[in-house]
């Protein structure tokens, strides 16, 4: 075989959005394949969810019983428990990129990704997405099993609204990614970004709806929490999952898009600034 006939040729649609989609889809796909190697890690995470969900279910059963209430903050006991199934699903499946990006900034390996024909930030998003599906399967299976046993099936879930819930969940991943990746890129300025990540995690606990649904927060705090981006990562998809509301969906979708625009622009600016400051030790 001669070298001439063996030369690679660009696809006819190189440079188009279709070729771009195929490129990032291939990154998602290969990392899905790769994540099969870590199936037992995903199973382990699923088992951890059993513990979380058991504690949440018992806690809220006790709370509802103590208040002798059937509804708190607009949610029944069953809705509240299933809310946490979805919230844990998002929390434990989302693309945890801050540490990876921080490490790449610090050891300079970020630079190697820059030398390929893809965008660093889109690459990491696609890469992270490849990990999500395997984790989601086990977390949902284990979490749902506990909730089912404790409070029964989620009869209130509107099957026809599930595509919209999944859209809000996907956008929640995008929004969280913009924030987490930006926190990772702060490594250009500070030695360790873990403190910022810890603060973000704790804010998500309280204002994001992981510890309790935003509807349960006191009035003023609830008003503030609803316009901040944090509730759009965990609360928004979880609330729509258990209590579908078309008007709320449109509001949440709009807010998500606004915050993705704001945090995405900040992330890109941070990345452009940082790419010029890349230095690599050794060599």
């Amino acid at each position: 075989m001669s070298a001439v006939t063996a030369a690679a040729v660009a696809a006819r649609d190189r440079g188009t959005w279709r070729a771009g989609v195929r490129k990032y889809a291939a990154i998602v796909r290969i990392n899905m394949q790769n994540s099969l190697t870590y199936t037992w890690d995903a199973v382990g995470q699923g088992v951890a969810v059993v513990l979380f969900m058991f504690v949440f279910a018992r806690l809220w059963k006790t709370t509802f019983a103590a208040q002798n209430a059937t509804v708190i903050g607009g949610l029944t006991l069953a809705q509240t428990v299933w809310y946490f199934v979805w919230a844990e699903l998002v929390q434990l499946s989302k693309l945890d990129v801050a540490q990876t990006i921080q490490d790449e900034v610090k050891d300079g390996s970020l630079a190697y990704t820059l030398g390929r024909p893809y965008h660093y930030l889109l690459y990491h998003f696609a890469f992270g997405l490849g990990n999500v599906f395997m984790r989601m399967i086990f977390i949902l299976a284990f979490g749902a099993a506990v909730a089912w046993i404790e409070v029964g099936p989620p009869r209130f879930v509107r099957v026809e609204a599930l595509p919209a819930v999944l859209l809000i969940t996907l956008l929640a991943f995008v929004l969280d990614y913009c924030i987490m990746a930006a926190l990772g890129l702060l490594a250009f300025f500070v030695e360790d970004t873990s403190a910022f990540c810890l603060i973000y995690q704790k804010i998500n606990f309280v204002l994001g709806g992981l510890l309790l649904p935003v509807d349960f927060l006191p009035g003023a705090i609830q008003t503030v929490a609803r316009v901040l981006p944090f509730n759009l990562v965990l609360y928004a998809p979880s609330k729509l999952f258990v209590a579908w509301n078309g008007t709320q969906f449109v509001q949440m979708l709009g807010l998500q898009l606004v915050w993705i625009g704001i945090t995405g622009a900040g992330l890109v600016a941070l990345f452009r600034y940082g790419a010029r400051r890349v230095s690599i030790n050794g060599g």
């Binding site: 006939t5 030369a7 690679a8 649609d13 440079g15 630079a111 893809y118 010029r276």
Partner: protein, 336 residues
């Protein structure tokens, strides 16, 4: 028309400094001190299409920093560079479709997956026509002899096998220039030879321009017609490899292990015995005084030989010799 041209390229890094101990740490906390390190100090060179250039120097000389600027992943502090008409750090994405790179310390193959999966991924990343990609893959698999490992997870491959697969991955999109940064690092003698043979084959069959950095003089001797030596970020030698060999790779160190004990008064004609053990000796030889094959023949005639190695002088030694021989320097040199 050169495919690579550098003009007075500079790169400085700000490196954080801290005196030892708790006091130093506290001081650095209040006021961090930075030292400017000049990794590349005004390098100029040109490379023609189809050339196989060795860019060598000791650790910390600035080889990798230069290659990273040429591939667009580092911004220079000063100077100009063009690769295939592109300014690497400004047109990184466009350039990446036309160059390949291998960084010995940064694998690109997916560790838990077979190389074939990474190849498929790269076909999408470089947006290649599927049929042309399959033909190209078949060509590289044959040229590099990697057919048996395509379906084996990378983690199960030896370092040498992995490196050949890395080279295939870098060439799938038919780049015009291949940047090889320390490709033989960590390889044993046999794997090094196999890899060098593969690089030579691809260069010959693909008319590939290769920019190879290494701190191994053996890579240079066996592969490249032209060599550039850099030290402290400056070019100190730019000439044909034959000139480097003639003038600075004359000395060889031959290690031999015999099948019988070595007598105390062991000596060899026109060579120096550096070290003598019970079963073996280490001999230094100037190849202009006595050819290597002549000495090896004499050693084999002397007693049964169990093991034998021929080593080049370390890169530091070559650099030292270049500095010592003022007339040998073919470019302006300003030693630190």
């Amino acid at each position: 028309m050169p495919v690579v041209s550098l003009n007075n390229l500079h790169k400085t890094f700000a490196v954080k400094r801290k005196t030892p101990g708790l006091k130093g740490s506290l001081k650095a906390l209040v006021r961090a001190e930075y030292q400017t390190v000049e990794a590349v100090k005004g390098i100029s060179l040109e490379l023609d299409e189809g050339e196989l250039l060795a860019f060598i120097g000791p650790n910390g000389a600035g080889k990798s920093t230069t290659i990273k600027m040429l591939t667009g992943i580092l911004y220079p502090t000063g100077g100009e560079a063009q690769v295939l008409g592109y300014i690497p750090w400004q047109q990184r994405r466009q350039l990446s479709y036309h160059i390949g790179s291998i960084f010995g310390q940064k694998p690109q193959l997916w560790y838990h997956l077979p190389p074939g999966d990474t190849f498929d991924l790269f076909a999408h990343i470089y947006e290649l026509d599927r049929a042309a990609f399959e033909r190209r893959k078949a060509f590289l698999v044959e040229a590099l002899g990697i057919g048996d490992w395509l379906d084996t997870p990378v983690r199960k491959l030896s370092l040498g096998q992995r490196m050949r697969c890395e080279i295939a991955a870098s060439l799938l999109h038919s780049p015009r220039i291949l940047f090889l940064d320390e490709p033989t690092i960590g390889l044993d003698v046999v794997a090094k030879q196999q890899l060098r043979a593969a690089i030579q084959t691809l260069h010959d069959e693909d008319n590939l321009t290769i920019f190879l950095t290494s701190h191994d003089a053996g890579d240079v001797e066996s592969l490249c017609k032209r060599v550039i030596v850099i030290n402290h970020g400056q070019v100190i030698f730019d000439d044909r490899t034959s000139a480097l060999k003639r003038r600075f790779l004359r000395r060889k160190v031959i290690g031999v292990r015999f099948g019988q004990p070595v007598p105390d008064d062991f000596s060899v004609r026109e060579a120096t015995v550096l070290k003598r053990g019970t079963w073996g000796v280490k001999i230094e030889l100037d190849t202009h005084v006595r050819p290597v094959d002549d000495l090896i023949a004499a050693l084999m005639a002397y007693a049964p030989v169990v093991d034998l190695t021929v080593e080049d002088p370390p890169m530091e030694e070559i650099i030292r010799q270049i500095y010592l021989a003022d007339d040998a320097v073919t470019v302006e040199v300003v030693p630190d």
